[in-house]
């Protein structure tokens, strides 16, 4: 944010359905460390929004505090953004969404922000099935405060000091599935092929969509001995390829041939999964937990779309709020006027 960016735009830069170039979806220049996984995630968000032809001003970006939480400054500069306080973004996002259900809400958080100080708010925003995309840029450490262990750090992984973690880690994806999340994906900042379609699917999902993105911290947690280093993640990544097909014609059912499975999203778009050997039902919580466990027990990390509940009730359905955003309700609609007050007074005599 501190420098001005060169506004030069290449003449034949591709444009999307709105006639916008990818540049329109960019943000300020990143101040993160060169090579930080978070920057790749920002790039993936930019691609996803560009390809989905989203109007930037229809997006609200929210975050907590941390290197990861700084990133909303580095994409979609045309969107309003709220960089709140540490671990409390979910509540701010909830309030924002209550006020205007028509915007697209993208939350960016870190593993410290979400799994430590923010765990309570995270669990409860999941429970409320708030209609938003919640991205955790998970590097297993506290980047901005110089590399302390986070609660997602794997048992046996060592930090930069060389201390080995003996606590059991919090697996945010499993936790979310357990607590009732309706869309849970996991990916890797280094795997654009998988990450971009996942982000598109998450945005298209109606309800709470968690993306737990392993995003290495090159400065404090990229050493040998760290399970969240680029190298180790590349080796242990059991990636389930994902395609996102923005559909025009109607599709209702979910089609599943042994190896590919097509999940029809709420807005008619389709997520296509290439499941390879992991034959489990991604619409069944228990089976999803089972699958994650299956690979974990082999020292692998399953990435892709892990679980989805396609027709869940998001918070506004549960509350039964009006279709029209609450922030558009007029004084006339909201204020009962003096007549009613007279009846109140009368009733209190």
């Amino acid at each position: 944010m501190t420098y001005v960016k060169p506004a030069f735009r290449h003449p034949e830069a591709p444009i999307n359905d709105l006639g916008y170039t990818r540049q329109v979806y960019e943000g300020g220049l990143s101040t993160l460390c060169a090579g930080c996984g978070h920057d790749s995630v920002s790039a993936a968000i930019i691609d996803a929004c560009f390809e989905l032809s989203i109007e930037p001003h229809r997006v609200a970006k929210l975050s907590g505090i941390g290197c990861s939480s700084k990133t909303p400054a580095y994409f979609l500069s045309g969107s309003h953004s709220f960089n709140s306080v540490h671990g409390r973004m979910p509540s701010v996002a909830t309030g924002a969404n209550l006020a205007n259900r028509d915007l697209i809400y993208i939350g960016v958080s870190g593993d410290g922000d979400t799994a430590s100080i923010g765990l309570g708010q995270f669990a409860h925003v999941v429970r409320r099935n708030l209609n938003m995309t919640y991205m955790v840029e998970n590097n297993g450490c506290y980047g901005l405060t110089k590399g302390q262990d986070s609660a997602t750090m794997d048992t046996g992984s060592s930090n930069k000091k060389g201390d080995v973690n003996l606590y059991s880690p919090i697996d945010l994806a499993r936790l979310a599935i357990e607590i009732g999340a309706t869309f849970v994906g996991r990916s890797f900042s280094g795997d654009k092929q998988q990450l971009v379609p996942l982000i598109k699917a998450a945005i298209s999902h109606r309800g709470f969509a968690l993306l737990d993105v392993i995003s290495p911290c090159v400065t404090f947690n990229n050493h040998a001995g760290s399970t969240k280093s680029y190298e180790n993640v590349r080796n242990s990544n059991e990636a389930m390829p994902v395609d996102f097909v923005p559909m025009r014609e109607e599709i209702t059912a979910t089609y599943d041939s042994g190896e590919t499975c097509e999940v029809c999203m709420h807005d008619g778009s389709v997520v296509r999964l290439y499941k390879q050997k992991n034959d489990y039902d991604i619409e069944d919580r228990q089976s999803a937990l089972q699958a994650i466990h299956h690979y974990q027990s082999q020292g692998k990390v399953l990435t892709g779309l892990l679980y989805i509940d396609r027709d869940s009730e998001e918070l506004h359905d549960v509350l039964g709020t009006a279709r029209r955003p609450l922030n558009t309700m007029t004084e006339q609609e909201l204020c009962p006027g003096s007549k009613f007050l007279d009846s109140i007074n009368a009733g209190l005599r």
């Binding site: 309003h80 709220f82 709140s84 306080v85 708010q121 409860h124 509350l319 204020c335």
Partner: protein, 629 residues
Amino acid sequence: MQVKQSVNDFVIKFANVNGTGSASANGMFAKAIFRMGIPVSPRNIFPSNIQGMPTWYEVRVSEDGYLGRRGGTDIMVCVNPQSMAKDVAEVEPGGYFVYDNTKPLDLRYVRDDIHYIGIPLTEICLREYTDARQRLLFKNVIYVGALAALLNMDFAVLKDLVGDQFKGKEKLITPNIYALELGYQYASNNFECPIGIRVESGRAVAKHIKDFDNILMDGNTAAALGAVYAGATVAAWYPITPSTSVVDAFDKYCRRLRIDPGTGKKNYAIVQAEDELSAMGMVIGANWNGARAFTATSGPGISLMSEFLGLAYFAEVPSVLIDVQRAGPSTGMPTRTQQSDILSAAYASHGDTKHVLLFPATPAECFSMTLESFDLAERLQTPIIIMSDLDLGMNEWMSPPLEFDDDFRYDRGKVLSGDDLEAMTERFGRYLDVDGDGIPYRTYPGAHPEKGAYFTRGTSRDEYAAYTEDGAAYVRNMDRLLKKFETAKSLVPAPKIKQAAIETRFGAVFFGTTASPAYEAIEILEKEGIDLDTMRIRSFPFNMDVEEFLKEHDRIFVVEQNRDGQMRRLLLNETYAPAKEKLVPILEYDGLPVTARKIATMIRNYITHGNVTPINRRRRAADAEEVVA
């Protein structure tokens, strides 16, 4: 023994066991006297417990319309053996002790300076009812019936009330009226009715109440209505006594007024958050996004919300917070009242912060100030904290009726619409002080396709909302926030100042629920030749009137319900007048609403022992009376 004679001027107290349904019967008793046109002020003194513990209901009847606690008890209606010893002792000489004489009275409780009225409540219930629950419930109705006879209450009024109370459950009306009659009969047959202490309708002067067009309601309900009228669409909260009923009432009225008959959809959203931090976060998020949102809490919630309050102050996000104060510190006494969150609210959060506070003193003000608070929050783009308390929030108060002017229009503050942005030629700067009042312009997310987007943050930023660590930019921003706070002084409600009939160097300052007993105390003292001008503070920051008042008096008694004289400290901190030696703390903080007698005594003692002698009294032209009583 002398018989206390008193018409329309006494204190009656009910000693019950909580969870036995006594509350509604006692409420009916108070309401009946109110309906008879006699000023009344009931107070629930209940434990932090759900069932089985001692609970009291104190009703003050005051023809003069004094609504604060007077102190002392003239009639004690004792239905709870647990607390009998304490209850007997509390009765003033010449007063009455009404009790259940099914079993003979323990001799230790017999005093020779009070009158005993025994009513065999248990016996009657055993005789009349078979069902245990009924025996429990009707016991309360029976003693109300007996009191009707003893105190000369209008029985017809009671009947009407039963009717109102059981609208919808009509079949309960007859048995309740029957129970009333049981009590009424027993009393009239066994005692000479009415007794010396009694009520008489049609003679009320109520000099403290503008006209007698008054209502009886609790402050929390009034505040909730204020939020409804202000167009609040989002309420996020976490349950905590004594604030819970604010959101309960908001919910109740929204269900009535805000559901689209066609679609059945709600034009509002109420979310019970997982804790107070989250509730405050939701309020901030919703206001940021252009909805009017509020929360209600009490002490512990204020502590937990302080990080978010700092964010809202610094990022300049409007928010409304209703603090229904209770006795602290920590969990303290959750069901007792206090005014002890003043400093924590005014300076909530680390760093240099200041927050706007409003101090309602009546249900009518709970309504009007809550209504007003949303305009203030949006005009000032900062949190507004309404400082109510348990006494005001949870008890029924006689109050001027709630008023709303249909010409009133919301002031949403400085918000640039899509069209404004479209029309704008200069660059939008979220934190630019365009008008020189310290208040910048904001935009709602989604307002305009190309313009107006900005980055909201709790970190330092420049006028265009860009992150900066530049000291000069930081200072400009902090100084603008100060200027904004100055601007606030011209927007918040001014204090109510009343001059004594006699010119005086003495002044008294108070606020909120301390006002009623304080005004009464001032009159008690006036009769003794001690005259004080009074100032009822209604908001922070303090405006020029406050400065003036401090300047113009050389002894000022600051009456408040906390240990540390928090309002006195705030006055020292936030006014220019060098008033330290002048400001005399008058403090009561035992958790029960302070009484007029106590205040009068403390001020009297200071003046007499501090041998500060009143100057010779010169009459002054009378000025408009303020109505809080």
